[in-house]
Amino acid sequence: MKVRVLSTKDAPSLLSRIIGQVLGGPAPIMAIKRSQIPYWHERGWRQEGRTYRGTYKTAYGSFIGRIEQVRPGNFRLYIFDPPRDVRKHRHWTCFQSQGNGRYRIHMSRMPDDVSSGILAIERLLTEAFEGR
């Protein structure tokens, strides 16, 4: 025997369902709390001490990155295997090869926080892909 009926019950009539809804009132509103997390965390970066690891994400692809905080407000930004399009960008000269596909990105203006640094690189990558 493959199926065994344990019990049966009648489906509620349309009338009883309507009355039930009226008497029960609307379902209670549930307030969803917004998460307030830094951009680097939201983008999946991980922090180990003063080093942040993750990917610079664009609509055209994601690229491995690392950011080291030298001191508050001073960071070293890296990208690994930057896309070919960046090599045509006006800021390509600011990417210094350090071997094994790692490039240090020189900043003429330091971001005040890691999140702003990630945003700046993601924006630059997008510009490069879009030929801006």
């Binding site: 997390i37 939201e42 005040d112 926080d113 700046a120 997008t126």
Partner: protein, 79 residues
């Protein structure tokens, strides 16, 4: 009037605001006490210019980002 959520990138703090037609990026940043920040719709969009009207470029209920100024370049006085 449009409602916006401004996410401060560094902290994740969200500031809910309501703007009128003609409100510029500078108006928003000044009133939020973030004069050294820049506003953008996200990493795939350019920064709003200080005098640019944000109202026309955003939808009601949209989330935008405030981040500190950062530029890729050779010379830096803060390295």
């Amino acid at each position: 009037m449009k409602k916006l959520s401004v996410v401060v990138a560094g902290t994740g703090q969200i500031k809910d605001i309501e703007i009128q037609p003609g409100t510029t990026a500078r108006d928003i940043l000044d009133q939020l006490g973030l004069p050294d920040y820049l506003l953008s719709k996200g990493p795939n969009d350019p920064f709003f210019a200080a005098a640019e009207s944000v109202y026309d470029k955003v939808a009601d209920g949209e989330k935008i980002f405030a981040s500190t100024k950062a530029e890729v370049g050779k010379a830096s006085g803060r390295k």
